[in-house]
Every structure is written in C-alpha cells, then in structure tokens.
C-alpha cells in the first residue's frame, strides 16, 4: 500500500568520490570549555557562552585573537556578533549556523571542518548555551510558531491535538519500536541505569551523587506513555564550547589533538520536525542510517573498529535505535545489545555515553557529548576506555542529524 518510492533507498550512484573528501584528517578538535551544569545558572546565556569560549581558548592554549570562525546553532539565542563584542575577537572570516536543534550538534563540526579543509579559517569555535532549566524550556509550549511558513504548517498540524512537546514526539516512535520488537519498559531501564553509572563517576554531572536502579526506573512517574521520568533527559542550564583547528596548527597546541576522521550529515525525505510519522516504517531512524552509511564510507572505518561511542540520548529508546542504525547490531537487536547493560558499560564491548550524557550529566543539545568524546581521545575522561583510538559522536534524532568520528 505504500509507494515504492517512499521505501528507504540508499543512493549508491552519485556519491562524491572518496578521495575527493578533503575533511578527512585535515582538522582536529583542540579545545573544549564548559560552564558548570546546574538547574539555575543565575546568569544569562550570553555570559555562560562567553565563559565557555574563554575556557575552551585557554584549554587549547590559543590567543583570543587567533579565533577566526564561529559556528552556532540556529536555535541559539546568542549571536556571534554579541559574543565577539564581549570577547574582543577582532576578525572573523567564517560564521555559519546549523539548523535542527540537537541534530546540529555534530553538524557544527561538519561545517567547521569543511571550512578548515577549504582553507578559509584556522580556528573555529562551535558553541551552545542554554538556560533550559531556569529560563524558557523548549517545547513546554512552542508559543508563537516560528515565522517560516513550512514549520508553521507543521506546528499547525500537531499543536491543536496537544501534541506539543519533544517527549510526546519521540514517544510516538518509541511506541512503535517497542511494539514491533516487543521490548518492555525494563529493557529501556538498562539504558538509563548504565548512563547513570557513568554519571556517578563524573563530578560535573547533575546526578553525580544519585545512583539509579532498574526498579526505580520501572516505577518512576509516567511522563508520556511509554516514556517514564528517567527515560527523559535532564533539563540543564549551562554552555559548552568546542574549538576546531587545522591539523598542522593542532600539533603545535597545548592539548593532544582529537583528529576528525570523518564528519557527515544525514537527511531523509518525508521528514518533519520530530514528527515524521508518514514513512513506511517509523520504528527506525533513516536520517541516522544515512549519516552512518556515509560516515563509514568516507572514513573507511567499520563499526567494530569504534572503541567508545557517545549516542545522542535525549530519550532512552534512542540509544538502542542508534545501535541498529549505525551498524553495531542487526535491526531490532538494539534492545538485546543493551539488556543487562554489560555490553554498553565501561569495559564492555562498546562503552556508551561515558560521561552520563543527556540522561544523567546534562542536556546541552549534544555539545557535552562531543566534549566527552574528545576527553576519551585525550585519555582524561572520568570513565576512561583503555586505548580509545576511535571515538564516535552522533547528533539529535527525529530530525536531520549528523555524526563525527575522532581518532588520536
């Protein structure tokens, strides 16, 4: 009954040639800076972003004048002009934006690496600052729909039905995923428990001092069926800044560079802002599948080479779904991969979300995951994986997404 054109087809003919992919090994992440993660920062997002950028510049051992590029989230409320006026950055030769909320996390690195590979800039700052906990919470009620007509038409098709918050949007995918692979709430609980274990080793995490058991997860308050309280990420006030520099410059700087082997984006048709319920199958994430296929193609790596992964986990079902889409296990086997938590725990086959990530450390639209991936390569993580050579980070789900692969 569904037309074959809608079936998932992976474009094999007109891909760019592998050797034309200049981003490989031409840029590296040299600096990470973050503010504290809290429930009430007591200051403006602009101030937190300035602090994060300053911390990242000091971490990299750079001078503020050496920054000549900025990449921001389209959703971010702080403009790079205002930040540069506060930090005294005299000259920018590159400034870009990435749309789609969490999906933009790794695509900020895609833009930065592409600009550096094209020789347009040397040091580019990617940042995200949010007062989600104390200020305005995204998705409480989207308020006035944004002014571009296509999303207005989209908001207009869901808001009248009270379907107006991200937990609801992702719960619709999860309801289908749990149904098709007959998984239970207890399976989901293992994902949150493992993330919390890792957060209990990370003093920066919001839930650093609060352990979590599977029993607590299963009996937690129901938010939007089938998602319970601990299946949802922790709203946070905070800011993270990441500095990407060219490979030659990275060698001369203070920290051990995390070289960018590949940085790709993915976008599938019939898509909407987290409500793409009109595809033949909605228990999968085609955007993540396309991103993964392109990532493995241009980097030449295969999923089993990856030593540590930071999956975007705004909600717990997204981790098993991504394990399938990025090729770590077969379709529908994501839950079995996570059951018991042994394979995704530190020391397991593929340690995931080693900083506690969105479920337990902080929800900063994926930028705190990139910071953790860089720490794994540097060997300074609180849940350090032994000889971590390849570190994967993925972007937001339900929307066009992105992913990056880092190496030492």
């Amino acid at each position: 009954m569904f037309d074959e054109y809608l079936a998932r087809r992976y474009r094999t003919t007109t891909r760019p040639k592998k050797e034309h992919y200049l981003v490989k090994d031409s840029a590296a992440i040299v600096g990470i800076g973050a503010t504290e993660f809290s429930k009430d920062s007591g200051r403006s997002e602009l101030q937190m972003v300035c602090e994060a950028v300053k911390a990242a510049v000091d971490d990299a051992g750079l001078q503020m004048e050496e920054i000549d590029g900025f990449v921001r989230f389209e959703m971010d409320y702080t403009d790079e002009m205002h930040i540069c006026s506060s930090l005294g950055i005299p000259k920018l030769t590159y400034f870009a934006e990435c749309g789609w909320g969490g999906g933009a996390s790794c695509s900020t690195i895609v833009h930065a690496a592409a600009a550096i590979a094209a020789g347009v800039a040397e040091c580019i700052v990617c940042y995200r600052g949010m007062n989600e906990a104390s200020g305005r919470r995204y998705g409480r009620i989207p308020g006035t729909p944004s002014i571009m007509t296509a999303p207005r038409d989209h908001f207009g098709s869901i808001l009248p039905f009270g379907h107006c918050t991200p937990p609801g949007w992702v719960a619709m995918f999860a309801s289908r995923y749990l149904h098709e692979f007959d998984a239970t709430a207890e399976d989901l609980a293992w994902v949150s428990v493992v993330c919390r274990e890792h957060a209990n080793r990370n003093p920066n995490a919001i839930f650093y001092d609060r352990p979590l058991t599977v029993q607590e997860c299963v009996e937690a308050r129901m938010i939007i069926e089938p998602l319970r309280l601990y299946d949802c990420c922790v709203d946070t006030d905070g800011a993270v800044a990441i500095i990407v520099a060219s490979a030659e410059k990275a060698k001369k700087l203070k920290q051990k560079p995390a070289y960018i082997v590949g940085a790709t984006q993915g976008n599938a048709t019939e898509g909407e802002l987290m409500t793409s319920y009109y595809r033949p199958v909605i228990s999968g994430l085609p955007e993540a599948w396309y991103t993964g296929q392109e990532l493995w193609r241009v980097t030449g790596a295969i999923p089993s080479d990856v030593n540590v992964a930071q999956f975007y986990d705004a909600f717990s079902p997204l981790i098993p779904m991504q394990l399938e889409e990025y090729g770590f296990c077969d379709r529908g086997k994501g839950m079995d991969f996570c059951r018991g938590g042994d394979r995704i725990r530190l020391g397991g086959e593929l340690p995931c979300n080693t900083s506690g990530s969105h479920l337990s450390e902080a929800y900063l639209h994926g930028m705190n995951l990139i910071a953790e991936a860089v720490r794994q390569i540097r060997g300074t993580s609180t849940a350090q994986v032994k000889n971590a050579e390849l570190s994967l980070v993925t972007g937001g789900l339900g929307i066009p997404t992105s992913a990056i692969l880092l190496r030492n």
Partner: protein, 391 residues
C-alpha cells in the same frame, strides 16, 4: 589533505527564478520547490542527484521540507546561514570539500503577501529571546521609538551626511540608475520607466533623511542556484560560471544596521575586511572587476560600499555616483545592471542571478565583454561577497 584556498573550486551551473510579484498566491514551500525544479532543468541535473541544500535562515522552508516536497532522499549536506548570502560559502565548501556533488542554494521570501518576515523587526513578538543582539534593540531603542530598519539606517546616514557633506541630489542618482536598469528588466516590477531627480526629491521622507525611494520595496519571489565543481560542470547544459572566490567579513562592536557604538559609524569595516579576504583568495583587485552587484537594500549603503570595496577613494563616493554616468551600464563601473533590490524588491539573491547572466551574456542589460563580476551583500552588518568569472 586540506587545500590551501577555494579559488576556482566551484561553479554555478544553473539558475531558477520564479516570477516576482507582490501577491504570489502560493506558499513559500510551493515556490521553493518550483525554483529548484527550474534550476535543475536549466542545469541539466536530475532532481535526485541534488544532495546538498543551503539557504539563508530567514527565507524559505528548511532543507527537510524542500527535500520532502521534491522527493529528494538522503541529502548529504544541509546548512543555513543568518547573514545575507553567506550560505554560498557553505555551498562552495561542501562542493570543494567533496561533501556533496550538486549543492542547491535557494531563497524564497514572500515579504509582500506573506506573514511578517523580518526576524529582527520589532513587530514580531520576541519574548523568548534572552540576551542577544536583537534584545539590545528592544531594551535600548524601542522605548524611544527607534524601530524598524529604515530608522536604524537613517540614524547612521544623518551622521554620514554630516561627515561627508553628501547631498540628497547626489544620493538620488542610486535609485535613478536603479530605475533606468529596472525599466529594461522584465523581472523588475516596480519601475516601467526611469524616475527623475524631482521624483526622488518629492519621495516621502519616511524616516528623515531616508526617503521611500531609498528603500527596497517588499516583494514575493523565489530563486534557486545549482553549484558544483568546475570539472563536473563541463558535462552540463549551461556554460559554467566559475566562482573565483567567496568571503565573509566581520568587525568588532558590530550589529546589524545599528553599530552606533563604534568610534566612526559612517563606514563599513565588515565590508572592508571581507573585500581584503575576497581579493586575497581570488588573486584579484578592484581594477579587474567589470560589474559590481552591490547591496542596495538601502540606497546610502551603495556609496559606502564603493569606498569599502576599493572602487573609489575615501570620501570620493558622492562624486562617483553623481550624475550616474560612472555607475550606468557603459560607465566606468556598472552597478546593479538588473535594477538591484530598489528595482526588483528586497531579495538578496537577485544579485547572484544577475552576475551569472552578465557572465553568460544573457542579461536584459548586458555590459560589453564582462568576464569578472563582484557580488556583495550584508551592508551595515556582517558582510559576505563573491567574485565570479568566465571560464
């Protein structure tokens, strides 16, 4: 294996223009898909081969919606940029860096008939913005009635008149030349014959010293541009227009149109920084440019750009534009032969379309043997520019 510069690493192979009007009667999603379909047909590129989409943030539906409307699956690269046509830089990086084969830059804006568009204009409720640039305007300017872009530009232009002594009769030549060129351009709907200096002087002073004719009128329209590498462009239908270089410019204490806190507020430091980078990467100078497509959303920015981009010395711009002879087609430096935004309505991508037509030789107002064209956008705020040349 980075490359040292993006000189001549991309080419424009197709342009699609949807009819400009003041009441287009279709949604932006409709005209965006239409423009991309036209551009792909003109370039001879199959719609399914398009694997990259870039756009300006304010104008048009997101790449996902446009991809959904056109049935394009698996976009490898998508990006949006806030300021002017700086998204073209992302397209050039994506194509040059091998991230995608065919990247489409599209802009769709229905400012005349559509909902209030301008994000930074006060009319759009902004209650959720935190401490960002636009909040500065609402905290410090709006209680005193300084609202709307004509007002912001007028505050700066008053100071420019004081410091350079430019007369309204001199600035009037920018809209006059624009109306002459627009009269010959079928896509420009706001002038069917040239205006005179008296028409300009009688134009209403909406925000003294800015007149109504100094501002680009609102228009509905949609444009798409297909970009790919010069090698791949050889196999396509149209004669490729090589992108010699692309650059963006920024300067300290900058704001969009309201940089009042600088020592000198009557020049465009962003445009100067962009021009230095543009000429350095492209290996060109102001002398090599045959046609200049300048940002004339507001007329006072045209003389300021002539100085910032090095086409004339500091303070010489008022004399340069007086009489209009130097900036007419056939003059020393033809400016906006298609009538610019004052003639066609506020739509920044019309400059790139005209640059492509000038180089292909298919413009309604063709300048003889044009081989290099400079396009500049974002006057008054973060600037971006591009130089394209014949193959």
């Amino acid at each position: 294996m980075a490359i040292d510069s993006i000189k001549d690493k991309a080419a424009i192979v197709g342009i699609g223009v949807v009819d400009f009007s003041t009441d287009i009667g279709r949604t932006e999603w409709y005209t965006a898909c239409q423009a991309i379909k036209l551009a792909a047909e003109e370039a001879g590129v199959n719609i399914d081969d398009i694997d990259g989409m870039v756009k300006s943030v304010d104008d048009g539906p997101d790449p996902t919606y446009t991809g959904k409307g056109l049935g394009i699956d698996n976009l490898l690269y998508h990006s949006e940029n806030h300021w002017g046509t700086s998204a073209m830089m992302n397209a050039v990086h994506a194509v040059a860096g091998g991230l995608c084969n065919y990247c489409v830059y599209y802009q769709t804006a229905h400012r005349a008939s559509g909902p209030e568009k301008c994000i930074s204009d006060f009319l759009v409720a902004r209650e959720f913005r935190d401490d960002s640039l636009d909040m500065v305007r609402y905290d410090y300017f709006s209680p005193f009635g300084l609202i709307g872009e004509p007002g912001y530009v007028a505050m700066m232009y008053r100071r420019y008149m004081h410091e350079t002594g430019i007369k309204p009769e001199q600035l009037g030549w920018v809209p006059i030349v624009a109306s002459e060129n627009a009269a010959r351009n079928t896509n420009a709907i706001f002038f069917d014959k040239s205006i005179t200096i008296d028409d300009y002087m009688q134009s209403k002073l909406i925000a003294d010293p800015i007149r109504e004719l100094d501002c680009a009128p609102k228009v509905d329209g949609s444009i798409a541009i297909v970009i790919t590498t010069p090698e791949r462009a050889k196999a396509l239908k149209q004669e490729p227009v090589i992108i010699n270089s692309v650059a963006s410019g920024y300067a300290l204490e900058g704001q969009n149109y309201t940089s009042y806190t600088r020592d000198v507020i009557t020049d465009l430091p962003e445009m100067e920084n962009m021009a230095k980078e543009l000429y350095r990467v492209g290996g060109m100078g102001p002398k090599d440019i045959k046609v200049a497509m300048l940002d004339d959303t507001f007329a006072p920015y045209v003389p300021m750009q002539l100085e910032a981009l090095g086409f004339c010395g500091k303070g010489e711009a008022p004399a340069f534009i007086e009489g209009g002879d130097k900036i007419r087609v056939g003059g020393q430096l033809p400016v906006n032969p298609d009538g610019g935004e004052i003639g066609q309505g506020r739509f920044i991508t019309t400059r790139i379309v005209e640059a492509v037509r000038q180089i292909r030789g298919t413009s309604t107002n063709q300048v003889a043997n044009t081989d290099t064209v400079l396009v500049a956008s974002g006057a008054g705020g973060p600037a971006d520019g591009m130089i394209c040349r014949k193959e």
